[in-house]
C-alpha cells in the first residue's frame, strides 16, 4: 500500500516537476539532466519518510552552505540565463501541491504566478527564498540564495510585467473588487463545463483565484494553531494572527457560491471530469440546501410539503433532504405551482435542473395564468431580464406583469385586452386603461392602483386613500374594517391572469361605473405574413436585443448550446406529440398548440434528450424528453401554419 502510494506520489511529482521545469527554462532541463537528481534519491522503493528525510537533508545542507552567500542579483550578467538550482527544484516539488503543477506549465510567467500565489512551497510553507544559478558580470558561475521579493522584482516582474499587475489585483485590499469583475460561470452542459475548465487551466488568473480559496481554507487551521501557541511565543503568535486577518479579508471577498465554485475548481484543476461531476451529478436539491442554487426553485414544493407559507433556511434544508431521499415526492406537490401532474420524479427533476440554463428564479402557476403563450413569453422574458418577476400579489400576476412589461414597451400593449373602463363625462369619451388582475409592486397597471386612480377621477376618492384588494374568502362585511373605504373583492378561485371576476365596494356600496374588458389574444409566432412584426417572438427579440436562429436538428441544437452560454430555445408544437402519455390524438389533424422552452440537453450513445419546460409544466419541474418528440410536435404544428412556420427558434 505504502509502496503504491509512494510510486504514485513520485510519478506525480516527477511529472509535475518536469512540467514546471519545461516551463521555466531550457537550461534548467539541461542542468537537471546533467545532474541526474534522481540518482541522488535513494530509489522508488524506499519508504516515504526516509525519502523525505534524505531530500530535506540535501536541501538543508545546501541552504545552510549558501547562508553566507545571499544575493540581491545586482551582479547578474544576463537575467535570462539565470536558472533555479536543481536541489531547490527537487525540494519545492516535494512540498508544493501537485494539483497546481499544470497551472505552471504554460510558460515562465505562469510559473511566476504560482510563486506569487504562494502555491510554490518549501518545507516551511510558501517559499521565502530561492536558490539560483547564474553567471556574474565577471563571467564566473554562482549559486546563491535570493529572497522571494528580490527574485520577483529582479527576475519575474522584468520578464513578466503582467504578473505584477495580477498580483496587485489579488492583493487582500483589492480582492473583493477584482472578484466582482470575474464571472464564475455555471455550465449548463457537460461540453460547456469541460470548455470552462480548459479556460481556467490556462488562465493566468487561476493561481490567484486558488490562492484566495487556499487562504479561506487556512482559517480553521490558523485558529487552531493560534489557540495552541503559547503567549510567550509572541513573534509566532503575531505572525499567525496577521495571517488569520489576511485570510479573513479574503473570505469576505467571497460569497458562499463563489467559495464552492473555487473549491471545486482548485481541488480539481487537474481533473476536468471531477470538476464537471460536481455540477451535474450532485443532487440539485442538495445544492439548494447548501445555498449554491436559489431556493425559489423548490419553495413551491417545500411550502406544500411542510405546510408553511414562509420558509426558513432550516425548512429549506429539511425539505431539500426529503426531496433528495424520496424520489416520488415531487410528482404530486402541486398546490402552489398548478402545473401538469404527475411531474417527473425528484431524481429526474434534479438531473434536468443540473443541466438546465433557464434563469427561473421566480414562481409562476400555469393553470392560474390561463394562457399558455403568456406563460412561455414571461419565462423567456424573465430569463433575459435582470429583474425577475417576484413581486406580484399572486403567482399569476408575476407572469402577467412580465408579459405586460415587454408588450407595453414594444407595442403599447396592443394585444393586452384586459382593461378597466369608465366614462369621462367631461370629454364624453370612454376611457380604458390596461390592467393586471392583481397587484405588482410599484406597477401602474396594478388592479388596486388603476381602480384607485379611476375612483379619484370619478368619485373624488381622496389622494391619501386607495382601494385595496381582498380575497372573497377573507372579506367579512360584518367587520368594522370593511364598513368604510374602497375594497376590491376578488373571487380567487375564478381569477386567472387573463380573466377575473371581482366586485368593487366603496363604503359598502357597489361601484358600477367601472367596467372590465377581458381578452388577451395574440400570435406567439407569426401565423401569417402580415403578423410577422406582431408576434411575441419578435417583441422578445426587440425588447431584449436578442438574435434568433431556427433549430432544425440536433446538430444545430448542440452547437448552439456549446457556443452560446445564455441561449435558450423556444417553440410551439402539438401537445399530443410532445407529451403523448398525457394527451391523445382522437381525430384527423387534431393539434392543440403548446408553447415550450428547451434549456439543456443530454446525450448518450448518439441519442439526445432535452430539458423541456412546456407551458403546462411547473417551472421548477422540467421534463427530460426525447428530441424525436420535439421534432414530431413542431413538424405536426407546421402543418397548421399558413406560412409553413417551423416553430423552433433559439434566442441568444
Amino acid at each position: 500500500m505504502l509502496l503504491r502510494f509512494l510510486e504514485n506520489l513520485l510519478s506525480k511529482k516527477l511529472i509535475a516537476g518536469a512540467i514546471i521545469v519545461l516551463a521555466f527554462s531550457q537550461s534548467i532541463i539541461a542542468q537537471i539532466q546533467s545532474k541526474a537528481p534522481i540518482k541522488k534519491l535513494p530509489g522508488l522503493y524506499t519508504n516515504m519518510e526516509s525519502l523525505l528525510e534524505i531530500e530535506e537533508k540535501l536541501y538543508s545542507e545546501k541552504k545552510e552552505s549558501l547562508k553566507s552567500n545571499y544575493s540581491n542579483l545586482l551582479d547578474v550578467k544576463d537575467i535570462n540565463q539565470l536558472t533555479l538550482d536543481s536541489d531547490f527544484i527537487n525540494h519545492i516539488l516535494f512540498y508544493s501541491s501537485s494539483k497546481y503543477a499544470s497551472l505552471g506549465s504554460k510558460d515562465k510567467c505562469s510559473f511566476y504566478d504560482l510563486i506569487l500565489a504562494n502555491h510554490i512551497k518549501d518545507s516551511e510553507g510558501p517559499i521565502t527564498h530561492l536558490i539560483v544559478n547564474y553567471k556574474d558580470r565577471k563571467d564566473s558561475q554562482k549559486t546563491a540564495l535570493v529572497s522571494r521579493a528580490i527574485f520577483l522584482d529582479k527576475v519575474a516582474f522584468i520578464q513578466c510585467p503582467e504578473s505584477k499587475k495580477f498580483s496587485l489585483y489579488f492583493a487582500p485590499q483589492n480582492a473583493k473588487k477584482t472578484l466582482s469583475t470575474i464571472f464564475l460561470k455555471t455550465p449548463s452542459t457537460n461540453d460547456e463545463c469541460l470548455s470552462i475548465h480548459k479556460e481556467f487551466s490556462t488562465d493566468y488568473k487561476t493561481p490567484h483565484l486558488c490562492m484566495i480559496y487556499e487562504e479561506v481554507e487556512s482559517i480553521r487551521p490558523l485558529e487552531v494553531k493560534i489557540s495552541s501557541t503559547p503567549r510567550s511565543d509572541y513573534r509566532r503568535l503575531t505572525q499567525l494572527k496577521r495571517e488569520l486577518r489576511q485570510a479573513k479579508v479574503y473570505k469576505k471577498s467571497l460569497n458562499a457560491n463563489s467559495y464552492d465554485y473555487l473549491k471545486n475548481l482548485c481541488e480539481n484543476i487537474e481533473k476536468p471530469k471531477l470538476f464537471c461531476d460536481d455540477f451535474f451529478n450532485t443532487s440539485y436539491f442538495k445544492k439548494v440546501s447548501e445555498k449554491l442554487k436559489p431556493s425559489t426553485t423548490i419553495s413551491p414544493f417545500c411550502k406544500e410539503l411542510l405546510k408553511k407559507e414562509k420558509l426558513s433556511d432550516r425548512d429549506i434544508k429539511n425539505c431539500a433532504r426529503i426531496l433528495s431521499n424520496d424520489n416520488k415526492k415531487c410528482q404530486y406537490l402541486n398546490k402552489y405551482s398548478r402545473g401538469l401532474t404527475p411531474k417527473p420524479t425528484c431524481n429526474n427533476i434534479s438531473k434536468a435542473l443540473n443541466f438546465s440554463r433557464l434563469e427561473a428564479n421566480f414562481n409562476d402557476c400555469p393553470e392560474k395564468v390561463g394562457n399558455l403563450s403568456i406563460i412561455n413569453t414571461s419565462r423567456i422574458a424573465a430569463h433575459f431580464d435582470k429583474e425577475k418577476p417576484t413581486k406580484g400579489s399572486d403567482c399569476q400576476t408575476n407572469s402577467a406583469y412580465q408579459f405586460l412589461k415587454v408588450n407595453m414597451e414594444t407595442n403599447d400593449a396592443k394585444f393586452w385586452g384586459n382593461k378597466l373602463c369608465y366614462r369621462d363625462k367631461i370629454n364624453l369619451v370612454d376611457v380604458c386603461e390596461p390592467v393586471l388582475f392583481g397587484d405588482y409592486e410599484k406597477s401602474e397597471q396594478s388592479l388596486s392602483f388603476i381602480i384607485s386612480k379611476i375612483m379619484r377621477r370619478t368619485r373624488g376618492l381622496a389622494a391619501n386613500q386607495s382601494c385595496k384588494i381582498v380575497e372573497e374568502d377573507s372579506y367579512k362585511p360584518t367587520l368594522l374594517e370593511y364598513k368604510s373605504g374602497c375594497w376590491i373583492i376578488l373571487k380567487s378561485d375564478k381569477c386567472y391572469a387573463t380573466d377575473c371576476s371581482f366586485q368593487i365596494l366603496k363604503d359598502e356600496v357597489p361601484v358600477t361605473h367601472i367596467s372590465s374588458k377581458k381578452g388577451v389574444i395574440f400570435p406567439y409566432f407569426a401565423d401569417k405574413y402580415t403578423s410577422q412584426n406582431l408576434a411575441q417572438e419578435k417583441f422578445l427579440r426587440d425588447f431584449y436585443k436578442k438574435k434568433t436562429k431556427k433549430i432544425f436538428n440536433i446538430t444545430f441544437l448542440q452547437k448552439l448550446f456549446k457556443d452560446k452560454p445564455n441561449a435558450i430555445i423556444h417553440g410551439v408544437g402539438c401537445r399530443a406529440d410532445l407529451l403523448p402519455s398525457f394527451f391523445q390524438k382522437r381525430t384527423l389533424n387534431e393539434c392543440t398548440p403548446l408553447p415550450f422552452i428547451i434549456d439543456g440537453y443530454f446525450e448518450e450513445k448518439g441519442s439526445l434528450s432535452v430539458v423541456l419546460r412546456t407551458a403546462y409544466d411547473d417551472l421548477s419541474a422540467p421534463r427530460i424528453v426525447p428530441w424525436s418528440y420535439i421534432f414530431s410536435s413542431v413538424k405536426s404544428y407546421q402543418a397548421f401554419s399558413s406560412i409553413n412556420l417551423w416553430g423552433l427558434y433559439a434566442l441568444y
Binding site: 410528482q331 401532474t341 381525430t587
Partner: protein, 344 residues
Amino acid sequence: MLFIRLFILLVPLSSLAKLPEMQTKQALNNIRFLSNDGKYTYFQQNGKLFLSTNYSSSTLKEGEDSTSYLIFGTPTRKTLIVEKEEDFQRNLSPIKTTSLYSIKYGGDKLEKVAEGLFLSLNLEDTWLTYLDPRTKMIKARSLNSKQPEISVQLKNKINPFFRPQAIMPTKDTLFYTDINSKGSMALLMYSFFDKKFTTVYKSRFTGMNLKFCIQDDNIYLGEFSFAEADHGSSIFKIPLYSNKDFNTITQIYSSQLNDIGNIVCSKENLYFVKTLDENKSLNTKKTEVAKIELKENKLSILTDLRYVTNIINMDGTILVPFREKYFVAEGKSRLNDDKLIKDN
C-alpha cells in the same frame, strides 16, 4: 378481483411490412374527416368548413382565418360532431371552450349543440358527452330529445390539465376517468338513475394513466405508466353486464415496459402504442403500434417507425399519425380514387 393472464403471441418485428401512407385527393393538412369509402370529405380552408362529395363541394360553416375545426364520428355513421375553435393559434387558453355542432353523417347542415370540449358520441350517435374546462364538469346531452342535460363533477384537483375520457354505454350510465387527491386514477361508473358512483377500477399505483374503450359489452381498460412511474403496462377486459361491482376482470396483456398506451378499439381489434425498448436515463422509447386480436388474444406489431405516439380510428380506418404523414394500419389507404361514386 379475478385476474386471468392470457397468452399472447408476439409477431417478430422482422415480418413487418411497410405500412401504406394515406393518399387523399385534398391536401391532407386541410382534411378534417374522410369517410372510409372516400365518399365524403370534410375539409377546411381559410377558416371555412367544406364538404366535398362526388365532385361537388358545399360550405358548411364560415369563420375567421384563425378558426379551426375537428370532426368526430363513430362506427354507427349517423351523426358527426364538429368542434369549432376560434383563434386556434392566437388564444392558447386551457380554459377556452369550443362550439360543438352536430351534423348528419355525409350531411352539410350544422346544428349547434353545446359549448365545451368534445369527449364522445354515444348510443348510436344519439348522446353527446363533453367537458366544461372551467367548471371541470362532464356533461351528457341527448341530440334527439330535449331531455335535460346531465352532468358529473370531476373530483380531480391535482392535475389542472387533465382531460378525462367519458363513454355512455346506456342512457343511464356514464363511464369516465377521474383522479383522486393522491394522484390515483380510476375508471368510475355514474348511474344517472340512482345518482350513484361505482368504482370500476382504481389504478394500483399513483402515476398511472387509464385509457379505455367499450366494445361488444366489454370494457377494455389499459393501465399505463406515465413517463416515470415505471410500473409497466397492462390491459384488462371487464364485462359490462352481469358483473357485480365489476369484480370480474381479466388481464389480457401485460408488459414490464412502460407503454404509451393511447388505446383505440375497433370491432375486432384493440390497438395501442407499445414500447419495445426504453432508455430510462434519457427517457427515450422505441414505440410502435401493437394490435391485439380480441377473439384470439393474439398480439402483433404493425409498424416499424420507432417513435409512434398516437393512433386514430377515423371512420373505421386505423391511422398512425407520424410527423406530417398518416400511415394506414387497417383500412383503405388510397382515398384519392377519382372514379365517380354512385349514390346508394
